[in-house]
């Protein structure tokens, strides 16, 4: 018998996490670490790519973090990539393998992957945006035959800021996914592309009508990427974005994540441009 993690919410309190064990930690950059986690036996996370969990360090607090591992490979294990920016993430970064954290979720709606079948897909990742997209990319590559052409555009601040380097290398070597990376600021020895992420878009020549774009990155990135994707002729309903908002509960109760009439934690975090284009504050 396996229990879905989200079912635990309805048993006692929707705010009470389930303990999870850190089984391994890898440092990607000065700020970002990759956590491999394991739920108690009998539990499974059963997420959609793009969904997130609320992560707790008891005594410190809680924060929403995207699941970066693929659903198919999850079972009781899953992965998170965490940037150290504040209270909770600093506490998390201090934890060693063997430590326990709390998790609730998975929450919200991820990428509607069933609707991507037979389509060409462009993944657009800015910085930490690669984390939620990795869950989707892995899923798509595992079932590669179901999709048309596939490309990843990934931008980092400097060559030292790349996340998931082993994956990037493996993807580049597969040949069935076009990978383009760029940095804002090169360091010595970098001979790759330099420039903001939109400068990579001209490299993609997929027929717009059959193309899905999935975009995850910092808020400032969206306006510019959207402009260019729309200019290419990609349909508004085929552009999927993940929205970051302050989230205190994940269950549509605390009000912090509200964007227009939408609770981002429930209806989002992944929404299509068609759904949000007329909502004030969504893209400001």
């Amino acid at each position: 018998m396996t229990t879905l993690l989200r079912e635990t919410l309805d048993h006692s309190s929707i705010y009470m996490p389930t303990p999870a064990r850190i089984v391994a930690v890898e440092q990607f950059t000065e700020l970002e670490k990759w956590f491999h986690l394991e739920l108690p036996s009998g539990f499974t996370i059963a997420h959609q790519p793009g969904q997130f969990v609320e992560v707790s360090v008891l005594g410190i607090g809680e924060a929403p973090i995207s699941i970066c591992s693929s659903p198919a490979r999850s079972n009781g294990a899953f992965e998170l990539c965490v940037r150290r920016v504040g209270k909770l993430t600093e506490a998390l970064h201090r934890l060693e393998p063997g430590s326990m954290i709390g998790v609730r979720g998975p929450f919200g709606h991820g990428f509607p992957i069933d609707r991507f079948q037979g389509k060409d897909i462009v993944f657009v990742a800015g910085g930490l945006g690669l984390a939620p997209l990795r869950s989707l990319i892995t899923e798509v590559l595992d079932e590669r035959g179901k999709y048309g052409r596939v490309a990843l555009l990934y931008g980092a601040r400097t060559p030292n800021d790349f996340l998931f380097p082993a994956d990037l290398k493996a993807w580049a070597e597969r040949g069935d996914i076009e990978c383009h990376v760029t940095v804002d600021r090169p360091t010595d020895g970098w001979d790759g592309h330099v420039g903001v992420i939109t400068t990579l878009l001209p490299k993609i020549d997929f027929p717009a009508r059959n193309t899905i774009a999935t975009v995850v990155g910092p808020p400032v990135m969206y306006k510019f990427v959207l402009q260019d994707l729309l200019a290419k002729g990609i349909a508004e309903g085929n552009i999927w974005l993940s929205f970051e908002r302050q989230m205190k509960c994940g269950v549509g109760k605390c009000g912090h994540c509200q964007m227009h009439h939408i609770y981002t934690c429930q209806t989002g975090p992944v929404l299509s441009y068609a759904e949000v284009k007329d909502l004030e504050e969504a893209l400001s």
């Binding site: 005594g59 205190k248 009000g255």
Partner: protein
């Protein structure tokens, strides 16, 4: 409908007190607050408005969610099992507000903390005969009579109350008690007379129709009024504290000095406060007082309706009364309406 003679009201309340905690409006320093009563004599049915709405009985300002041991990772939920409670003499606006809270807390993942209190609480409401304060605009918002969901509702007929029962929980407060009479034809006549007579006592305060409110707000997104009232707003959050439909909260952990035993607590929060919507990297989706005020008004008159099918404002007027900057919903909405009419088609 049933009839409760006024001289039996106290006997009924005393009877309820045997197996219920009875909460009612009580005078305190010239204002009214909802509080537990220890004798039916303390009961006041004709009060103007309470400082805090009755939401505090379902969503306390501060509430433990669960306790934990950070070392062992043991956690246990804190679901407060309250004794059966009756809240007396709620105004219909507050009843409408509770209907909205019920819907929000019961949508999607059900909040068990809210539910545990709510399930054990029956509501006895009372028909308002006179406006409770200048700033109330219940008539404009359609909250001047009972909502679909109510338990027991009283209407003052002079020497007696007309008693309507709207739920099983309400029926349980009445059945077999012996204080309630069958109404006569004159009681029905009197009831109709009272209901018709009260209506003119209230004014429509809002210059547009309530059904037009979402359109008005939708057309007013870029209004300069937000900047004008934003200038005055102190970001103090008083308006959301006293609002019967505001429920946003923050979550904090408390832990002992040995970093072992602690609890996670939720506390009332306010979308008017700075940092409410800030995310990592410092990006703030509502970075000015004008933006935050606009969000609050949009929520009240538009967003909540779109999300839950009910308006987020019940017209109680409490926010207007408590705002140190004298920002009021009536003046704000009517000014938006005026400006829309002055420049139709354009942003107000």
């Amino acid at each position: 409908m049933r009839i409760l003679p006024k001289h039996l009201l106290n006997a009924w309340v005393e009877r309820l007190r045997i197996d219920h905690r009875v909460v009612a409006p009580r005078e305190s320093h010239g204002q009214y607050i909802f509080d537990e009563i220890t004798s039916a004599d303390e009961l006041v049915l004709d009060y103007h408005s309470s400082v805090l709405p009755p939401k505090k009985y379902f969503l306390p300002p501060r509430e433990d969610l669960f306790t934990f041991n950070a070392k062992t990772m043991e956690m246990s939920p804190v679901i407060e099992e309250i004794e059966p409670t009756v809240i007396m003499a709620l105004h219909t606006c507050d009843l409408h507000a509770i209907q909205l809270l019920d819907r929000i807390q019961g949508t999607g993942h059900v909040d068990q903390h809210y539910q545990a209190r709510r399930r054990k609480t029956a509501l006895v409401s009372i028909e308002c005969m006179q406006p409770c304060m200048d700033q109330a605009f219940c008539k404009s918002l359609g909250t001047l009579s009972v909502p679909e969901q109510f338990d027991v509702h009283l209407t003052d007929l002079g020497d007696r109350y007309a008693v309507d029962v709207g739920s099983d929980a309400g029926e349980a407060l009445i059945r077999g008690m012996g204080f309630f009479w069958k109404p006569s034809d004159t009681d029905y006549d009197r009831f109709n007379e009272v209901m018709a007579g009260k209506w003119p006592n209230f004014d429509y305060r809002l210059d547009c129709d309530v059904t037009d409110l979402p359109n008005l707000l939708g057309a007013s997104h870029d209004s300069t009024l937000w900047d004008e009232i934003g200038e005055r707003c102190l970001s103090c959050g008083q308006c959301t504290k006293v609002c019967p439909t505001c429920y946003c909260f923050d979550v904090v952990d408390e832990i002992d000095l040995k970093l072992e035993k602690g609890k996670r607590v939720r506390v009332w929060d306010s979308c008017l406060l700075e940092k409410f919507a800030v995310v990592a990297g410092g990006h703030d989706f509502r970075n000015s007082r004008a933006n935050r005020l606009r969000h609050r008004f949009m929520r009240k008159g538009k967003y909540q309706l779109e999300a839950y099918g009910l308006l987020g404002c019940v017209g109680c007027g409490r926010c207007a009364l408590s705002c140190p900057a004298h920002i009021t919903p009536i003046a704000t909405l009517n000014t938006l309406n005026e400006r829309r009419q002055a420049s139709p088609g354009e942003s107000a």
